[in-house]
């Protein structure tokens, strides 16, 4: 997928965006505080996380069985199920349906999977008016930007920028207060909701026992997407399954609390079929597209647990790297720790090799994960893979090799330190930091500064202090 410009360039651009940096600090702090409060209120958070982890592990272990049960029940409920092995197959199914329905307006409730497969692009090429209806998604759609956060895709945008985007569309200057901007969106999107031929939503949980799709929003846009359009399409990753309603309780108890610090999101829709004979509103057709797109590749590997993810985004909110660079610098639909892993596993580690290295391995993601995914361990594993596959820069490999040889030979190590200091002295800035290193050090200093080795090495100091060798 698109990965231009290079990761280093994307990061550089992100770091220069002062507004975004400020916004990211605010987003992280607000979501974290909210979640921390909910964890405290619940009192037994870890028990919920442990159970969620057990449920998710059980689902993956039996995924073929539950998908069979789910899809059979969806069909029993009057829905149509399409199994898409690839993003391309999903796109073909959806675009064919759009053609069949002579679709002019296609309303979408937030779906990260549709970002993953770049669905909008395909629909727009057919001349269809595709309207993202989640406020955040709508903003980034107008700005032609990818999502910056799994939960809040436009949280990096300032109200000035948003007002500017909406004003262009309105053809007049809109003030930048929240009520004005919100009203504009309500007014602009309402007719689209009412006139659209097709409405699409994602799927937070697919309940196998009753063939129901559970979609959560705060704005009510998923509800809106299913009221008027003749057809409702659900696009879901195949791992979204929960076995039954008791399991849904566990996952739904965790999701909003971990995502935004809400005890419950405003709207939780349970869709169990197309409209029935006596119904006045609702879609005549209900299509459920179940997507693999690389997920089954992960099943047989040590990374299987990454499919436990319920997309709460908590790992982003606790990540020090995400805090600095934001979601767009990752370059993949999903960002943060979960995004770094999914990019390598769903797509190709050759393309996304930089992402696992953009991590401090602090473990905050793992500690706060709603379903107990060992995210930092997976990131470390992916680094190992990247190195083993020879994907790291040549100079870094040489430097690491040299260090490992030197470190296992004390005499050589000491000599190296002395030479190193004299070579590097001339390159340090006034703070004793090297921003642009020579030779093999250049790759390192592209991402981070390197300290000038100390005047007196630890080993010298130890000797002088009379320590034992």
């Amino acid at each position: 997928m698109a990965h231009e410009p290079a990761f280093q360039e994307r990061v550089k651009k992100a770091l220069q965006n002062e507004n975004m940096k400020k916004a990211l600090r605010n987003v992280q702090a607000t979501f974290r505080n909210g979640r921390d409060r909910q964890v405290e209120i619940m009192g037994n958070w870890d028990e919920w996380v442990d159970r969620a982890k057990e449920i998710r592990a059980h689902v993956l272990e039996n995924l073929d069985s539950y998908l069979d049960q789910f899809s059979t029940n969806v069909e029993k409920n009057g829905g149509k199920v399409f199994f898409a092995a690839t993003g391309q197959e999903a796109i073909e199914y959806i675009t064919n349906l759009a053609r069949e329905k002579n679709c002019k307006t296609f309303v979408k409730s937030k779906s990260m999977v549709s970002e993953e497969i770049h669905l909008n692009h395909a629909l727009e090429e057919m001349g269809i008016d595709v309207a993202e209806t989640d406020l955040g998604e709508y903003i980034i759609q107008l700005a032609h930007e990818p999502p910056a956060h799994i939960v809040g895709p436009a949280l990096h945008k300032t109200r000035e920028e948003i007002s500017e985007l909406f004003s262009q569309l309105a053809g007049k200057k809109l003030s930048k207060d929240t009520p004005t901007l919100t009203r504009f969106v309500r007014k602009t999107l309402r007719p689209k909701f009412l006139n659209a031929e097709i409405g699409m939503t994602g799927c937070n949980f697919a309940v196998a026992s009753t063939g129901s799709v559970v979609v959560v929003t705060n704005e009510g846009n998923a509800d809106m997407s299913t009221i008027s359009p003749k057809a409702h399409i659900v696009l879901m990753g195949m791992e979204r399954i929960v076995p039954d309603w008791k399991s849904l309780d566990v996952c739904q108890t965790l999701l909003p609390r971990a995502a935004t610090g809400q005890a419950m999101n405003v709207y939780t829709n349970v869709i169990s079929g197309p409209k029935q004979a006596a119904d006045i509103d609702g879609p005549e057709e209900w299509h459920v597209v179940i997507l693999d797109n690389g997920r089954s590749n992960i099943l047989g590997t040590k990374y299987r647990e990454v499919l436990h993810c319920i997309r709460c985004g908590a790992c982003l909110n606790y990540c020090p790297t995400y805090r600095q660079i934001g979601g767009q610098a990752y370059g993949f639909a999903y960002s943060g720790p979960i995004g770094a892993i999914l990019a390598c596993l769903l797509d190709d580690i050759k393309v996304w090799k930089d992402l696992p290295f953009a991590c401090t391995l602090c473990g905050a993601c793992t500690e706060n994960c709603s379903v107990g995914i060992p995210l930092d361990q997976f990131i470390l594993q992916l680094r190992v893979e990247a190195v083993q596959k020879g994907l790291t820069p040549w100079s870094e490999r040489v430097a690491m090799k040299a260090f490992s040889t030197a470190a296992s030979n004390p005499g050589l190590y000491e000599l190296g330190l002395k030479i190193g200091r004299s070579v590097l002295r001339g390159r340090a800035n006034q703070d004793g930091v090297i921003e642009k290193g020579p030779g093999p050090l250049a790759a390192w200093t592209q991402h981070k500064d390197f300290p000038l080795p100390a005047e007196q090495s630890f080993r010298d100091w130890w000797r002088k202090e009379g320590g034992n060798q």
């Binding site: 037994n44 028990e47 057990e54 059980h58 272990e61 039996n62 073929d64 069985s65 998908l67 069979d68 199994f83 898409a84 092995a85 197959e89 406020l135 903003i139 809040g152 949280l155 300032t158 929240t178 009520p179 919100t182 969106v185 999107l189 309402r190 026992s209 009753t210 129901s212 705060n218 704005e219 009510g220 846009n221 509800d223 809106m224 009221i227 076995p243 039954d244 309603w245 008791k246 849904l248 309780d249 566990v250 005890a263 419950m264 709207y267 939780t268 829709n269 349970v270 869709i271 169990s272 079929g273 409209k275 119904d279 006045i280 509103d281 179940i290 693999d292 089954s296 099943l299 047989g300």
Partner: protein, 230 residues
């Protein structure tokens, strides 16, 4: 293009085993909700519901008897300057004598009746100032109301108008989601779920503009729950 069978075979293959059917959830010894919240129907739950709803910007009323119901409704409708209103043809609402009150207040109303003109009803609901519905359950912990929609209970009624008014019987109050999903499961087994069941927790909201709270994005900006006791 993969068929269902190929799709599921691949999963089994990746899991390193034969295809499996009839998986069952393990019987867990303990559940995380075992010690949460007290039993249904008591004042603690009502208080919790009220507090949670108000924290979300919703408004909570209690009413017993025809006189109080009428007073509360009047207060809300006047405050919101409601001139037109749509409500579900729900026997529980009809039993409250709603038609009569609304008529007295001079409000233009439509009843969400499958026997009526569907297109006209939908257009009316979209233009109406308020919608009135009757909740099937209330979840105390989160101030959530549950609706089994379908037929004379339209999804549009609670969603399209800017003011959303829900009646809830005190005996339909449960501690939390745990009891609600049990209710859902039971209903699914007995009569099947309607095409559309929804949980609503306060007014429509978003934090997508600089994390600043905005209310009434696509759904209603005002949410009222009137608890009926008895």
């Amino acid at each position: 293009m993969a068929t269902k069978e190929q799709f599921l075979d691949r999963i089994a293959n990746r899991l390193g085993r034969e295809r499996r059917t009839g998986a069952r959830v393990p019987e867990w010894k303990n559940n995380p909700w075992d010690n949460l919240r007290d039993g249904p129907g008591n004042e603690g739950q009502v208080e919790l519901f009220r507090k949670s709803l108000e924290a979300l910007g919703g408004r909570f009323y209690q009413a017993s008897g025809a006189e109080e119901i009428k007073e509360v409704l009047k207060e809300i409708l006047e405050k919101e300057q409601v001139k037109s209103l749509v409500y579900n043809k729900d026997q529980r609402l009809l039993d409250l004598g709603l038609a009569h009150y609304l008529d007295e207040m001079g409000i233009e109303t439509r009843v969400w009746d499958p026997a009526g003109n569907h297109e006209e009803l939908k257009t009316f609901a979209e233009q109406a100032d308020a919608g009135i519905v009757f909740a099937d359950l209330g979840l105390a912990e989160t101030a959530t109301v549950l609706f089994y929609n379908g037929g004379p209970k339209g999804r549009s009624v609670s969603l399209l108008p800017p003011v959303f008014i829900t009646f809830l019987r005190k005996r339909d109050m449960v501690p939390r989601l745990t009891q609600a999903v049990a209710h859902l499961e039971e209903r699914a087994q007995k009569e099947g779920l309607p095409a559309y069941t929804n949980f609503v927790t306060g007014p429509s909201r978003s934090g997508d503009i600089e994390m600043d709270l905005s209310i009434g994005v696509h759904g209603p900006a005002s949410a009222y729950v009137i608890l009926l006791d008895p």
